[in-house]
Amino acid sequence: MSATDKTRRLTTNAILLSLALILAIVERWIPLELIVPVPGIKLGLANIVSLFALVRLRWTDALAILVMRCLIIGTFTGLTAFLFSITGGLLALGIMGLLVRWEGKVFSLIGISLAGAAAHNLGQISVAVLLLGEWRLLVTYLPPLLLTSLFTGTLTGVAAIPLITRFPLRGTYAAKR
């Protein structure tokens, strides 16, 4: 990777990280739990950035953006919330990184975002299970979260597609692979 590419990579990731942070903050303004009373519900807007980084950049970029986002937001929200978001985020990224190989053939970005949303919920509840040592949390909290992830996952997927489609490939370092 040339020096120009390295700089491009750094700036692209920095811009995406700030975008992810903005989305994560905006998401906290939306009182979604008042409309849909499901405990632990999140819109998952920052997942759009992860999806973008996975498809257009490299998985290492997506990972770096995710970890930095969780760390920065985590300093404001506290340790428990950080553990929820980092575990959910890593699991979501892992699943999406796996499924993105078949993007366009088997899955569309909507399906990949959907799987990411469901994986995020699973990771989130798994942390609660480990912290409290009570596996029955899965029975109470996971089904409603999974059902809402059908809507939030579809929403972020539909939002991500125009963004990813409009972003030019030529000129980004990833296109030179």
């Binding site: 499901v38 498809v55 569309s108 912290l131 009570e134 539909v158 489609t165 990833a174």
Partner: protein, 156 residues
């Protein structure tokens, strides 16, 4: 990792279509899979915990220790109590076999949002306070009951 040029070509064809036409067969599979997992957990989850037997009792657990048990005969009546756990203050209400954390001063309020729990194996949990409110089979209910008999003695 997807071939980026190929993805771009595929995505361009998306523009003129409504969003649901972007879906591929794998997406439908995922939708169905998630619904099935959610339904299976919801309907079959309590069965994994053993037979419900007679009445259901409720347990309050703090840091893995049962601090209070509401026996089945008391749970069907209305009542409430308050307790403290790890620096947080909770108000618990119960009536006609269901129970909830009605007020809590914990930061995330997940336990309050959980609302009423009444089915066997359902829990309402507060992660910051390490508090779990769970619905269990009563000791008379059979071998599936998870309530320790000696705890009942303390309460009575």
């Amino acid at each position: 990792m997807v071939n980026c040029q190929e993805a771009l070509v595929l995505n361009r064809s998306h523009r003129s279509l409504p969003w649901y036409r972007w879906l591929r067969w794998g997406d439908y599979f995922l939708y169905i899979l998630i619904v099935l997992v959610a339904l299976a957990l919801f309907s079959r989850g309590p069965m994994l915990l053993g037979p419900s037997g007679g009445g259901q009792s409720a347990d309050i657990t703090v840091d893995g220790v049962v601090v209070k048990t509401i026996p089945a005969e008391q749970l069907v009546q209305a009542g409430s109590f308050e307790l403290d756990a790890n620096g947080f203050h909770y108000t618990v209400e119960y009536e006609s076999g269901r129970i909830r954390i009605s007020h809590a001063d914990c930061p995330d309020q997940v336990c309050v949002q959980t609302g009423w729990v009444s089915r066997l194996g359902q829990v309402s949990a507060c992660v910051p306070g390490h508090l779990i409110l769970s619905v269990n089979g009563s000791p008379e209910g059979g071998e599936g009951a998870s309530t320790e008999p000696e705890v009942d003695v303390i309460i009575r």
